[in-house]
């Protein structure tokens, strides 16, 4: 078999953890190999080794049947290996061209030949259908385009092997579709691809083979067209994973949250949410569907108090809370699972215990007469950790930073649910998580609903919206273009509405 | 054991370094001269800062190490010595250019303390006369550091000296109010240069710079101009600054200097102490009459005739036939 890359018996330890334990993978020329594994399984580490960012403790790497040592990214480049990282490595105030040529700049005399480079990039971009403006600054372009710049960076360096680390986690559904198309173009041109993703659907769509990794060890490699999503999930998590959300029929109660004619401005002072009205009843999950950047974030920030409201009302059990402080809204019964867990959710350098009580720390029993009550805080946290299965090395004392993304998310979900809120606002609650964690968090959201609480679910994942919601409101350009009953709609209808075509109710 | 027998003389320096070509250096040179003559054990300490605490600290350090004859240069030591003379009752203090007080400017000179002042106004006066005589006609200016009594007295004396020469020797030297300034610090070299440049631009021929580091800038500007062929002068202060003004071969921009014989004062006090005639409890003034102030003995830029005339004026001050005021009166600033 014509293997372009072989990584054999790779071992890599980090303090206290074996990230890769005797891992072997191989990539054939012209194929897409998917790497699948739980959060923290060691996928990124393995790829970082291949790209020369880390040196392995043991094992060998063979490229085109030659044993090689890859000590740094330059050597990887020279071997024709390129990588798009989970977090882009782009200089925000450089142009697209400057980012791409960085490190191997073409020169005219002493001077960088910017125009020559831009021309070449334009050509490459058109050839692979990437649609990138070489003169744009990184900070001015969308995340999707930034990712295409990363791809161009590899192509500019004549990479034969392209590594994608969770490329779709940050993309909108449209962008994901485009990326899949680009990958196919790349394959046609003879490139080989390694793809890391948590989304089984994507693996099914583009990958030829899939190597599953659990806790640093390879579990096995499967031929994608000979297996099912459920089987891959089982291999990865080690047990059956259910993709269907069990939801009992539950007639909704009276209205708790009513948003009326809400207008909110974005950072640039332009209206992001316009005359938006929805109402949310007890015992239901209302999903907000929409393409990223259509005002969802601003809507949620306005409801939770993170952003000022221009006009309109937010009625919670009949009281207008639109002028309340964040704290007062919290006390009135609004809880929030934020979109970005690291930015808004957790103080990363605080312990889990401190994070769990941050909002309620001045209430008894957590403080008395102005003093923190450590035993009460600790036992409360232990209970949450147990109940929500937050896994950490040192329990409640562990710093939030030391938790994997999935466990950070579980901690936040646990914290917010345990406040027993009237309204739980969950924004992208499963972003970047493995299927096991997703299953768990979905269960807890439905449980809230079944207890008669109201849940507002905002997600870019249409599947998640369709699976969980009772009703779905579709937002486009800050306007509510319609509302549908989840049971009576399908992906197609909602998708069209997300694109701004009004239908349904 | 041999060390024990020697008399220990200590010094605490003021803001500048020991080699500041000014107060500290003069004091120390006097001490070194006394060491030559009387075989002493001498030492100086430089405080970290210029606060009273820093000074007290160094005095206590000296005292603890057995230095019980301590010389301190500068008015900044006034409150320090006020405290130290009570705390260290068996120690002798010489305070140059100031007298101990509690912060209220009422001098309290302890029984083993001598407070020494210099007649800066007489020194400035003589430098003024010399300048006027040498230039014969033209314009002069004054740049002071901080507006403190010693600097002010130099200024006032200088102005009187110019006026005296104009009145008695027929010189025609102008001094313009806007060219008499106090820069406000003793270390802003750049300001010294810039101010001097403005004055020279406006036609000033000689600047009397009583301003420490600010004066360094003044001398620099003068050197630059002198090298370019302009005839500009600086009158030095405290010590003979001739060497600082050399810009080519032996040529210097320092016309003369208004000198305070600090070294003489510290030497004299040590000598008196060794002779058991230490004038404890007194406030002494070093002036022309005891050769405590004047202009340098050698002034290459003054003609012999001028030096002779200045010497005559010096004698008149000593004899009392000429008196120099140490207050502003109707003088400029």
């Amino acid at each position: 078999m014509d293997h372009i890359i072989e990584m054999l018996n790779i071992r890599k330890e980090f303090p206290g953890i074996v990230a890769n334990d005797d891992v072997s993978i191989s990539l054939r020329k012209g194929e897409v190999l998917a790497l699948l594994g739980e959060n923290g399984a060691g996928k990124s580490t393995l790829m970082s080794i291949l790209f020369g960012l880390y040196n392995p403790d043991a094992g060998t790497i063979r490229v085109r049947n030659q044993e090689v040592e890859i000590k740094n990214p330059t050597q990887a480049n020279n071997l024709g290996i390129g990588m798009v990282h989970q977090h882009f490595k782009l200089v925000h105030n450089f142009t697209v061209t400057e980012n791409i040529i960085l490190g191997m700049e073409p020169k005219k005399g002493l001077i960088i030949n910017r125009d020559g480079a831009a021309k070449k990039i334009k050509e490459l971009s058109e050839y692979y259908g990437l649609n990138v403006d070489p003169y744009a600054k990184i900070e001015d372009i969308s995340v999707g385009m930034q990712q295409r710049v990363e791809i161009l960076k590899m192509l500019y360096r004549d990479a034969e092997v392209l590594i994608f680390d969770e490329p779709t986690a940050v993309l909108t559904p449209q962008e994901i579709r485009e990326l899949m198309k680009i990958m196919r173009n790349l394959l046609e041109e003879g490139k080989s691809i390694i793809l890391i993703t948590h989304k089984l659907k994507e693996i099914k769509e583009v990958a030829d083979r899939c190597t599953v990794i659990r806790r640093g060890k390879v579990i096995g490699t499967v031929q994608v067209n000979e297996t099912s999503e459920a089987e891959m999930a089982k291999m990865m998590v080690g047990r059956e994973v259910s993709f269907n959300v069990d939801k009992a029929d539950n007639p909704p109660g009276e209205t708790v949250l009513e948003v009326k004619d809400l207008v909110v401005k974005d950072n640039r002072g332009l209206p992001a949410v316009n005359s938006f009205s929805i109402s949310l009843r007890k015992g239901e999950i209302l999903g907000i569907a929409g393409v990223d950047g259509n005002g969802q974030s601003e809507l949620v920030e306005a409801i939770t108090g993170l952003r000022n409201v221009e006009s309109g009302a937010i009625l919670l059990n009949g009281t207008d809370v639109s002028k309340f402080s964040i704290k007062d809204r919290f006390h009135a019964g609004i809880a929030h699972i934020p979109e970005d867990r690291q930015k808004r959710g957790l103080v990363l350098d605080y312990s889990i215990a401190e994070n769990m009580v941050l909002e309620i720390v001045s209430n008894p029993p957590f403080s008395k007469r102005g003093l923190l009550q450590f035993p009460a805080i600790a036992s409360y946290t232990e209970r949450l950790i147990q109940e929500f299965d937050v896994r950490s090395g040192e329990g409640a004392k562990a710093k939030a930073r030391a938790l994997s993304g999935g466990n950070q998310q579980k901690a936040i979900v646990g914290r917010e649910i345990s406040h027993d809120p009237e309204v739980l606002i969950a924004v992208q609650p499963t972003r970047g998580l493995d299927v096991g964690s997703i299953e768990y968090i979905h269960k807890r959201l439905v449980e809230q609903r079944d207890k008669g609480k109201a849940v507002l679910l905002v997600s870019l994942e249409l599947d998640e919206i369709l699976d969980l919601s009772d009703r779905i409101a579709i937002i486009n350009s800050g306007v509510c273009v319609g509302e549908v009953n989840a049971a009576e709609t399908n992906e197609n209808e909602v998708g069209l509405m997300m694109a701004g075509i009004k239908q349904g109710a | 054991a041999q060390e024990e027998s020697k008399t220990k003389v200590g010094m605490v320096t003021d803001a500048g370094t020991i080699d500041d070509k000014s107060f500290n250096q003069g004091t120390w040179e006097g001490i070194l001269a006394a060491q030559e003559d009387f075989d002493l054990d001498v030492r100086y300490l430089k405080p970290v800062g210029t606060t009273e605490a820093d000074y007290i600290q160094e005095i206590s350090n000296l005292y603890d190490a057995g230095y019980k004859f301590i010389v301190t240069p500068g008015f900044k030591f006034e409150t320090t010595i006020f405290k130290a003379q009570d705390e260290y009752e068996d120690a002798y203090f010489v305070l140059l250019d100031g007298s101990p007080h509690a912060g209220d400017f009422n001098p309290v000179v302890g029984p083993k303390t001598v407070s020494i002042f210099f007649a800066e106004h007489e020194s400035g006066f003589l430098a003024g006369v010399a300048t006027a005589l040498q230039l014969n006609e033209g314009e002069v200016g004054f740049i002071g550091g901080m507006e403190i009594p010693a600097v002010q007295k130099f200024n006032w004396g200088f102005q009187q000296g110019i006026a005296y020469a104009n009145a008695n020797f027929g010189t025609e030297i102008a001094i313009n109010a806007e060219n008499v300034i106090y820069q406000g610090s003793f270390d802003n070299v750049a300001a010294g240069q810039q101010i001097a440049a403005q004055m020279y631009e406006k036609g000033v021929d000689a600047i009397f710079a009583a301003a420490g580091g600010v004066g360094v800038g003044v001398i620099n500007e003068a050197k630059s101009r002198a090298r370019a062929g302009e005839e500009v002068w600086v009158v030095g202060v405290d010590v003979d600054q001739y060497a600082d003004g050399i810009y080519e071969g032996e040529k210097s921009v320092i016309l003369t200097s208004a000198v305070k014989r600090i070294d003489q004062a510290s030497y004299d006090m040590i000598k008196a102490y060794l002779n058991d005639s230490f004038p404890g409890g007194q406030i002494l003034t070093f002036d022309a009459s005891n050769n405590g102030v004047g202009i340098p003995e050698e002034n290459p830029n003054l003609s012999d005739a001028v030096e002779t005339q200045v010497a005559e004026v010096f004698d008149s001050i000593v004899s009392g036939s000429v008196t120099v005021n140490d207050v502003q009166g109707n003088l400029i600033k």
């Binding site: 950072n267 974030s297 939770t304 108090g305 993170l306 952003r307 402080s325 964040i326 704290k327 919290f330 929030h336 934020p338 970005d340 930015k343 808004r344 959710g345 957790l346 103080v347 990363l348 350098d349 605080y350 401190e354 941050l358 909002e359 720390v361 001045s362 957590f366 403080s367 102005g370 003093l371 923190l372 | 030492r43 300490l45 405080p47 970290v48 800062g49 210029t50 606060t51 009273e52 605490a53 820093d54 007290i56 600290q57 160094e58 206590s60 350090n61 000296l62 603890d64 190490a65 230095y67 409150t79 509690a102 912060g103 209220d104 901080m146």
Partner: protein, 314 residues
Amino acid sequence: MNTIVQIFPYAVAYTIPLLITSLGGLFSERSGVVNIGLEGLMVVGSFFTALVINFLEPTMGANAIWFGLLAAMIGGALFSMLHAIASVSLHANQVISGTAINMIATAVTVFFARNLLGSGNIQIINTLSRFNVPLLSRIPIIGPLFFTNTYATTWFVLAILGAAYFVLYYTPSGLRLRSCGEHPHAADAAGINVQRTRYIGVGLSGTFAGLGGGVMIVTYSGQFNGSVAGLGFLALASLIFGQWKPLGILGATLFFGFATTMANVSQVIPSLAVIPPVLLKTFPYVATLIALIIFSRSSQAPKAVGEPFVKDKR
């Protein structure tokens, strides 16, 4: 040993203004605002202390000291609001705002001193008297070291240190203050008013640095002259050296206090005089450099210190 007993009270006296100022910096930086302006705030404190004592001394004698220190705290707090407005409300670069504070402080206080009292130097007559703590000072070894020749302000500052430790780690306010320095957006989302918290942090730094300047005047300096001789910068170094922790700061300031005092007296202490003075003089800084390098891998700096908090920014 004898040497140590001798220099101990001096070293402690030098340490205390450093300690309280550094503690002020702690509150500011823990709330997320870098405060390079400690030096200037100390100058302001020393100015107010000297000014008030100068006015009140004739009528109330040594009691004026306490009013002087109170004025230092108020003056420092008010002056620090300049820094708070610039860096918290207006999102200015905090290093520069702090540097401007330093430069303005000297210029303005000396100007006012000159206009109010005719001189840029303000001297006070009564400085604080030293006392031996009854009973405790008789304990062998410890007594002579810690309980003889002490100033009331030393105990006051140590009490503040204890209170600061307690507030930071044992009260909700402390938890919240720290969260604003670590992760203001998370704090904001948790309903904490980040801007107000930071104003309080900066205000405390002004209060404490002002007190530091005042203590310096009433204990060992006795005169205001528009400068605190780099003590504010040393306090900043202590803050970092002490890893933004109250007890760490205590250790760091004691280290600086002793190292500086040793360097000062080295020339007259025969056993130290053999060491070249340049080594002794640079010793505290060289030691800092080395300590920094050792500690730097595990730096405990508040994660968000120096970052303006702009609410709407994502």
